[in-house]
């Protein structure tokens, strides 16, 4: 190795490193990064909200700690929630949300009878519920035009401690993207 090669090597290495990180045209690479960051912010800040499920009210469908996405345009326009959909319900905002399943639609009458759900007197088939160790019981409630009846899949919990009931449509943030089987 002569003196000139020894001088060139670190310089060439640095150039290769810069090219590897920023590409042949650093200005375009910067622009691409900015556009990518803006698109990611728009998608994951508005359209697909990342959520981490906490708690056991949706067992066995979702275990605590599981990652999911909420599609906020699922019920845009004329699209309405369907029975079996797993939805996110906002509290004061979208930072903290409840994840529940839609079992009752507007105008229907919902009741719990010995742990099973009755919709207008008919038993509801719920393949996503594994066990019903507690005989949940409730009086029939009729849903208003903009109300849905939501409940978690885990019916082994204490009924009084389980967050469920009628929710107005304006509180539904969207539908969970990764819907479990049976949903």
């Amino acid at each position: 190795m002569d003196a000139r090669e020894a001088h060139d090597s670190p310089c060439r290495l640095r150039k290769r490193l810069v090219r590897l990180i920023f590409g042949r045209r650093p200005a375009w690479a910067m622009l691409r990064s900015v556009v990518l960051a803006l698109v990611a912010a728009a998608v994951f800040g508005r359209l697909l909200l990342p959520v981490r499920v906490r708690g056991d009210s949706m067992l066995p469908t979702y275990r605590s700690g599981r990652f999911n996405l909420v599609y906020t345009r699922a019920y845009a326009g004329r699209r309405t929630p369907r029975r079996g959909d797993i939805v996110a319900v906002r509290l004061a905002g979208p930072s903290v949300m409840y994840v529940k399943r839609v079992i009752g639609l507007p105008g229907e009458t919902v009741a719990f009878d010995a742990g099973r759900v009755r919709i207008g007197g008919q038993w509801l088939d719920e393949p996503y519920v594994r066990t019903r160790r507690r005989p949940w019981q409730s009086e029939p409630v009729t849903l208003e035009a903009d109300q849905y009846f939501l409940v978690g899949d885990n019916r082994d919990t204490d009924q009084a401690a389980h967050v469920m009931g009628r929710v107005r449509r304006e509180r539904l943030v969207g539908r969970l993207v990764f819907q479990a089987k049976g949903g």
Partner: protein, 169 residues
């Protein structure tokens, strides 16, 4: 030419920095910012760490009371809670703290609206995310939405009314 461009870039940078600092200073002085800071401070005050000094607990109770107006009201029907007055509210909060070994509170989605007709009154909505460990060792994570009414009292924004909002009817 190059020097001029550098001066121009420097001047633009300086103006942007000045605007940001001015905006930050302006926001710091607004009622909305003061209310947000007050609510965050209240949450920090109500928190509890393992092995807390009992003397500190007594101080906390006094400070908790100061965050509320003299005739404040707290309503949480789910827990049959309807409190009136600064002292009963502070005492109940102190009791709730005593039930815990550790309590961590986080405020989310805080929204503050100053009454345009009376700038001494404001309304706020927020979600409280509570992670606690009770004296019996049971741990829990809970989220509750609250609606607050606040009033400017002796130059300080104090909570006048607390109501738990439930999206599930």
């Amino acid at each position: 030419m190059i020097m001029r461009r550098q001066y121009l870039l420097g001047a633009v940078g300086l103006v942007v920095a000045l605007v940001l600092v001015a905006g930050w200073l302006y926001r710091r002085g607004t009622s909305e910012h003061r209310i947000r800071s007050g609510l965050t401070a209240l949450a920090r005050l109500a928190e509890k760490t393992d092995g807390e000094n009992p003397l500190h607990s007594a101080q906390v109770m006094r400070h908790l009371g100061n965050a509320f107006t003299e005739d404040a009201r707290v309503r949480v029907p789910a827990y049959q809670l309807d409190l009136r007055g600064r002292r009963p509210i502070a005492e109940t909060m102190a009791q709730i703290r005593m039930m815990h070994h550790a309590l961590d509170l986080a405020l989310r989605d805080v929204s503050v609206v100053i009454d345009p007709t009376d700038r001494r009154q404001a309304a706020a909505t927020l979600t409280v995310l509570a992670r606690g460990r009770l004296a019996d060792g049971h741990s829990y994570t809970d989220a509750h939405e609250f609606r607050l009414a606040l009033r400017l009292d002796d130059g300080q924004w104090r909570v006048d009314e607390v109501e738990r909002v439930t999206g599930f009817e």
